[in-house]
C-alpha cells in the first residue's frame, strides 16, 4: 500500500507514463477494441418473411420446465430464428451469446458468457469477477456463478447459439457443472449443428431436457405453403408437397426456392423444373438466386464472404465501389443471404457465406488473399485491431500484421489478458523470414513470453539492426521496443538497463495520444510491473514500491488483473524483507483474492504471494502451514504454458522461493538440506547484478547453520562482510560474536546496525533479543528481563515466535518456570491445530519457548522412549549402560523443560523432534 510520503513519487510516475488516475472501471471482461462485440449478445432480429410455427413454439415452451433445451439441426434449418422468436415472448431475462471459433478456450468462453448475462440484464454481483487468462477459468468462479443463479427468484434463460463452434470437452464439463448447480435458476438453450458433449442421456433419463431435432425442424406441407405465400407464391398442394420432398422440408432450401422463383417469369414452371433436378439443393439454389441479382450485388456478396461481420464502409473497401449501403439494405429487405445485426452492422448467413466463399475461389482465384489484405488495412485504420490482425494473418501479410499490432500499442497483449493465447497462436504462423522491425519485435515478445531470454534479446538486437534508423521508426514501435527491453532487464536482473529504457519511455510517451495509452492500460501496467520487479531485485525497495504501487493502480481490466496481482505479491515481499509480518500477510492475501477473482492460474502467477505466506508462517513457527503454502507456490505439472508476463522466469520469485524453502528447512532442523536449497537463491549466471537481499538471506541461513554446528567464528566472519548495509546481518553477526564471548565487538555491531524506523519486528525483535542476551551474559539479569519483555511485547502482535526459538535456552531461564508466571508470553506456544486424527491437540502445559538442539544420542533415546521402551530396554538396544541412558534422559528433560517421560515425548512431538 502506498504510504503518504510516497504519493508524490507515485503521481510523478503515473503522470509520465500516461495513467490519468481515473477510477478503476468495473473488472472488465470486455476484450477491448472490438466494435462488433455487442452484436454477439443481441437476440437476432426476425426477417419480415419469418414464419412462426405453432407446433415448435409449443414444444419450446416445455423448455420452461426443463433445465436443458437442445435445438439441434443442420445449417439453415431455422434453429436460430425459431429460438430468437421464442425468446422474445419470455418474461424473464434472456441472455444470448452467439459463439465463435475464438471461444475455444475456457477463459474466453466464460468471459463472454458472463458478459452475455450482464447484457441480458441478469445483474451479476460485482464480486463475481471474471477470467483474465484466456486458457482457464477458476472453478470457484463457476461455483460463484452457479450459486448466484440458483438464488434468483426468476430464472435466466441463457441461449448459446452456434454452440457447435465450442468443441472443447472441458468447456462442456464446465457448462454441465454450472447447469447442474444453478438448479431452477438457469434454463440453458443450446442451438447447435452437432450434438454437444454434455451427458444428454442423464437429462433424458430424468426428463429434464427439451429436444428439438432436425426432423422436427423440417417444414411440413402446410408450413411450407405458408412460407411460400409470405414470399408471394401461391402453389397448389401437390406442388408444395413435391417441393417439400425435394428440399426435405429444409428451411434454407425453401426460402431460396421462393427467392429464385420470385425472380423467374413463370415461378410455377421454375419450381417444377427445380423439383425434377438432381443438384444439391443449397448450392444450386444459391447459384440461381445469385445469378438473378445484378452484377454489382453478386460481386458484393462474393467479396464480403471473407468477412464474419461487416459494415457497409468495409464492404466498399473490398468492392472498390460505394454502393454497399444501398445493396445491403436491398438484400436485407429481400431476406436474401444477409442479416442485419443493428448499428448498420451485417452478417452473411453462415451457410451462404461458406458457399459464397467456394464460388469466390472458383470465379476469382487468388482474390481471397487480396480481400483479406484490404479488410485488414481498413479495419486497422478504423481501430478494429483484433479483426485487422485476423485478416492480416489470413492474407499472409505478416509484415503488415506485425506492424498493426505494434503500432496499435498492443504488444502487451501478447503477455497478459484474454487475447494472449489467441495472439500467440496467430503469430505462431508468421514465417521466420518475415522482414521488418515490427516482425522482429513480435518475435522477441513471443520468445520473452515463453521465458526464452536469450532468444528475446537476440531478436531485439535484430530489430535494432534493421536499416532505416531507430529515429525514423514510429513512436509506438519504439515504445514497444522499450517495453521489451524492460522485460528482458527484469528477467536478467539488470536494473540500470531497465531504468535507461524507462527514461526513454517517458520521453516517447509525450508524443503518443492519451487515448491510445488509455486504450491499452496493460502497456503501462506491464512497464511499471517489470520496472518494479527489477528494482526489487536490485534492492531499491522504495523505488520498487513506487513503481509497483502505480502498476497495481492501473485501470482494472482483464489484461491488468494478473499484473496487479503480481505487483501486490511483490509489495508483500518488500514488506516481508522490511520485517513486517502482518502487513506482508495482508498484502499477500489481497494478491490471492485478486487471483481468485480473475481466475488466474495459481502458480506461477500467485507464487510470490504464497511464498510470502510461507515465510510469515515460518517466522511464526507454524511450520506445517508454511510447508502447505510453499507447496502451493511451486508450478504444478501440466500448467498451461502460454504467454504471460507472470510466467517468465523471474529472478525475484526464484530467489524468494529458494530463501523461503531454506528457512523452513532450517526451522525443521534439516541443516544440510537448507544449504542445498539455498543454491538457487544467488544465481551464479543469468543475472546482471546480484540481489542484496537474496545474498543477505542466503548469508543468514548459512551463518545459522554454522552457529548450530558450533562454528560461531565462521558465522560471524561470513555475516560481517556487508553488515553495514543490512540490519539482519549486523544483528546475526552480533549474536555470533556473543557466542564467541566477544561482548564489545557484539555491542559495536549492534550499535552500528542500520536499523531504521521502517524496519519491522522481524528485525527489531531479533536485535532486542541479542541485547537481552548480552545483558544476561554481563550478569545484569534485570536489564535482560526488561529487554526480553520488550521483545515479547513487540513480537506478540505479529505472532513472531521464531526468534525466541532460535535464541537459545537462556530465554526460557529468564522467563521463569512456567505458565501463569507471566501470561504475556502464552502465545509463544506454536499453534498445533489438530493432530493426525483431526482431534484438537491438547493444550500444551508448557510454552514451547526454547529448544536446545538435542544430540544424536539424546535423540536416539527419545525415539525409544516414544516407543514405550524401559530404561533397561533402551540401554540394551543402544549397547550402552543404564546409567548412560539416564544421563541422556536427564539432559533431554532439561532441554525440553520437562520432568517426566510422558511429558518429554509429548513436548518432543509438539516441537516436531519426533
Amino acid at each position: 500500500m502506498a504510504r503518504p510520503e510516497r504519493t508524490v513519487a507515485v503521481n510523478t510516475v503515473t503522470d509520465t507514463l500516461g495513467d490519468d488516475g481515473r477510477e478503476r472501471s468495473a473488472p472488465g471482461v470486455d476484450p477491448a477494441g472490438d466494435p462488433f462485440l455487442h452484436t454477439r449478445f443481441v437476440v437476432p432480429a426476425r426477417p419480415a418473411t419469418f414464419l412462426r410455427r405453432r407446433r415448435l413454439v409449443g414444444h419450446l415452451n416445455q423448455a420452461l420446465s426443463t433445465s436443458l433445451t437442445l435445438v439441434d439441426g443442420p445449417a439453415g434449418a431455422g434453429k436460430t430464428l425459431l429460438v430468437a422468436d421464442w425468446a422474445t415472448t419470455l418474461r424473464g431475462p434472456v441472455a444470448w451469446l452467439t459463439a465463435e471459433g475464438t471461444d475455444r478456450t475456457p477463459g474466453v468462453f466464460w468471459a463472454y458468457v458472463l458478459q452475455a448475462l450482464r447484457f441480458g440484464g441478469t445483474g451479476l454481483p460485482p464480486g463475481i469477477g471474471g477470467p483474465a487468462d484466456a486458457g482457464r477459468v477458476d472453478h470457484t468462479l463457476l461455483v460463484r456463478l452457479a450459486e448466484h443463479l440458483s438464488e434468483r427468484d426468476r430464472p435466466v434463460t441463457l441461449v448459446l447459439d452456434e454452440f457447435e463452434r465450442v468443441r472443447s470437452g472441458e468447456i462442456a464439463d464446465q457448462v454441465q457443472f454450472v447447469l447442474q448447480h444453478a438448479g431452477p435458476g438457469l434454463r440453458l438453450v443450446l442451438v447447435t449443428r452437432t450434438e454437444p458433449l454434455l451427458p444428454l442421456h442423464r437429462y433424458r433419463a430424468a426428463g429434464d431436457i427439451t429436444e428439438i431435432r432436425g426432423a422436427e425442424l423440417a417444414f411440413a406441407d402446410d408450413e411450407a405453403a405458408a412460407l411460400l405465400a409470405a414470399h408471394g407464391l401461391h402453389l397448389a398442394a401437390p406442388g408444395v408437397r413435391a417441393l417439400v420432398e425435394r428440399t426435405q422440408g429444409w428451411a434454407a432450401g425453401l426460402r431460396l426456392c421462393a427467392l429464385a422463383a420470385q425472380q423467374s417469369p413463370d415461378p410455377e414452371a421454375y419450381l417444377k423444373e427445380f423439383e425434377a433436378g438432381q443438384s444439391t439443393v443449397a448450392d444450386f439454389l444459391l447459384a440461381e438466386v445469385l445469378k438473378s441479382r445484378p452484377a454489382e450485388t453478386q460481386d458484393l456478396l462474393l467479396r464480403s464472404s471473407v468477412l464474419t461481420r461487416f459494415r457497409p464502409e468495409l464492404v466498399n473497401a473490398l468492392t472498390g465501389r460505394d454502393d454497399a449501403e444501398t445493396l445491403l439494405g436491398e438484400l436485407h429487405r429481400d431476406n436474401a443471404f444477409v442479416a442485419h445485426l443493428g448499428h448498420s452492422c451485417y452478417r452473411l448467413h453462415p451457410l451462404f457465406a461458406e458457399i459464397l466463399r467456394a464460388h469466390l475461389r472458383v470465379r476469382f482465384p487468388g482474390l481471397e488473399g487480396e480481400l483479406h489484405r484490404r479488410a485488414a488495412h481498413w479495419l486497422s485504420r478504423s481501430g478494429s485491431l483484433a479483426e485487422a490482425l485476423e485478416h492480416g494473418a489470413a492474407a499472409g501479410d505478416w509484415e503488415f500484421t506485425a506492424r498493426a499490432l505494434v503500432d496499435g500499442l498492443a504488444i502487451g497483449q501478447l503477455f497478459t489478458g484474454l487475447r494472449s493465447d489467441g495472439l500467440a497462436r496467430l503469430f505462431s504462423g508468421m514465417p521466420p523470414g518475415t522482414p521488418g522491425r515490427c516482425a522482429h519485435l513480435v518475435r522477441a515478445a513471443l520468445a520473452l513470453s515463453r521465458g526464452d531470454v536469450d532468444g528475446g534479446l537476440a531478436r531485439l538486437r535484430r530489430a535494432e539492426e534493421e536499416p532505416g534508423g531507430e529515429e525514423r521508426e514510429s513512436v509506438p514501435a519504439r515504445l514497444s521496443h522499450v517495453l521489451l527491453r524492460v522485460l528482458a532487464a527484469r528477467m536478467t536482473g539488470a536494473p540500470a538497463a531497465a531504468e535507461r529504457a524507462v527514461r526513454t519511455a517517458r520521453e516517447l510517451r509525450r508524443s503518443v495520444p492519451d487515448e491510445q495509452l488509455d486504450g491499452h492500460p496493460e502497456f503501462t501496467a506491464l512497464l511499471l510491473t517489470n520496472l518494479g520487479a527489477v528494482r526489487l531485485w536490485a534492492g531499491h525497495a522504495e523505488e520498487a514500491r513506487t513503481a509497483l504501487t502505480a502498476a497495481a493502480g492501473c485501470p482494472g481490466t482483464a489484461a491488468t488483473a494478473p499484473l496487479r496481482q503480481e505487483c501486490l505479491g511483490y509489495l508483500a515481499w518488500a514488506d516481508l524483507l522490511d520485517g513486517w509480518l502482518n502487513r506482508a500477510e495482508r498484502q499477500a492475501r489481497a494478491a490471492l483474492a485478486e487471483a481468485e477473482r480473475f481466475s488466474l492460474a495459481p502458480p506461477p502467477h500467485a507464487s510470490t504471494a504464497w511464498l510470502v505466506l510461507a515465510a510469515v508462517a515460518t517466522d511464526r513457527s507454524e511450520l506445517d502451514v508454511a510447508q502447505a503454502h510453499l507447496d502451493r507456490s511451486t508450478v504444478r505439472r501440466g500448467a498451461p504454458a502460454g504467454a504471460c508476463g507472470g510466467r517468465a522466469p523471474d529472478p525475484v520469485t526464484t530467489a524468494a522461493q529458494a530463501v523461503v524453502r531454506a528457512r523452513l528447512l532450517l526451522a525443521r532442523g534439516h541443516l544440510r538440506a537448507a544449504l542445498v536449497a539455498l543454491d538457487a537463491a544467488v544465481p551464479a549466471t543469468g543475472v546482471t547484478v546480484p540481489s542484496p537481499w537474496a545474498e543477505d538471506c542466503a548469508a543468514l541461513v548459512t551463518a545459522a547453520v554454522h552457529l548450530a554446528e558450533g562454528r560461531p567464528g565462521t558465522a560471524a566472519k561470513a555475516l560481517e562482510a556487508a553488515a553495514e548495509r543490512s540490519p539482519a546481518r549486523a544483528v546475526a553477526a552480533a549474536r555470533a560474536r556473543l557466542e564467541l564471548g566477544e561482548h564489545e565487538e557484539a555491542s559495536r555491531l549492534l550499535d552500528a546496525a542500520p536499523l531504521r524506523a521502517h524496519h519491522g519486528p522481524a528485525l527489531t525483535v531479533r536485535a532486542t533479543l541479542v541485547r537481552a542476551r548480552a545483558a544476561d551474559l554481563r550478569g545484569d539479569t534485570a536489564a535482560a528481563r526488561r529487554l526480553l519483555a520488550r521483545a515479547l511485547l513487540d513480537a506478540r502482535r505479529e505472532r513472531l515466535r521464531r526468534p525466541f526459538l532460535e535464541a537459545g535456552p537462556w530465554v526460557r531461564r529468564l522467563l521463569g518456570p512456567g505458565p501463569g508466571h507471566d501470561p504475556s508470553w502464552d502465545w509463544l506456544s506454536p499453534r498445533t491445530d489438530a493432530d493426525a486424527h483431526g482431534r484438537p491437540a491438547e493444550p500444551s502445559p508448557y510454552p514451547a519457548v526454547v529448544v536446545e538442539r538435542l544430540s544424536g544420542r539424546e535423540r536416539d533415546v527419545l525415539e525409544r522412549l516414544a516407543q514405550m521402551m524401559s530404561t533397561e530396554e533402551i540401554a540394551a538396544d543402544l549397547y550402552v549402560s543404564v546409567n548412560t541412558v539416564k544421563t541422556h534422559l536427564k539432559s533431554v528433560y532439561r532441554k525440553l523443560s520437562v520432568n517426566r517421560r510422558g511429558d518429554a515425548v509429548r513436548r518432543a512431538r509438539e516441537l516436531r523432534l519426533l
Partner: protein, 87 residues
C-alpha cells in the same frame, strides 16, 4: 487412408472445388468424393466442410488400399452405376 464420401445430389463445380484434395464422380442422384485422407482430423474436417456447405452425406466409407490410382477410379464408376441401378 482412402475414403469415399457420398453426397446427395449433383454438386456444382463451385462446390467440388471446395474439396480440392479429393476427386469426384457425379452419378445419378449422388456425387461421390473420394481420395486420400491424411488422418482422423482431416476426416472430421471434411465432414464439417460438408455440413457447412449444406451438403447431405449419404454414406462414408474407408476403401481398401490399392496401389493403382486409375484402376481405382474405374472401380468407382462401376460401383456408382451399380448403386444407381439398385435404387
Amino acid at each position: 487412408m482412402r475414403y469415399e464420401i457420398r453426397i446427395e445430389g449433383h454438386m456444382s463445380r463451385m462446390l467440388t472445388e471446395a474439396f480440392p484434395e479429393l476427386d469426384h464422380v457425379v452419378m445419378s442422384h449422388q456425387t461421390v468424393l473420394f481420395g486420400p485422407v491424411v488422418d482422423e482430423a482431416h476426416l472430421y474436417g471434411l465432414l464439417a466442410r460438408c455440413q457447412s456447405l449444406g451438403l447431405h452425406v449419404v454414406e462414408m466409407r474407408r476403401m481398401p488400399e490399392r496401389g493403382d490410382e486409375t484402376h481405382e477410379t474405374g472401380t468407382h464408376e462401376t460401383r456408382g452405376r451399380g448403386d444407381a441401378a439398385g435404387s
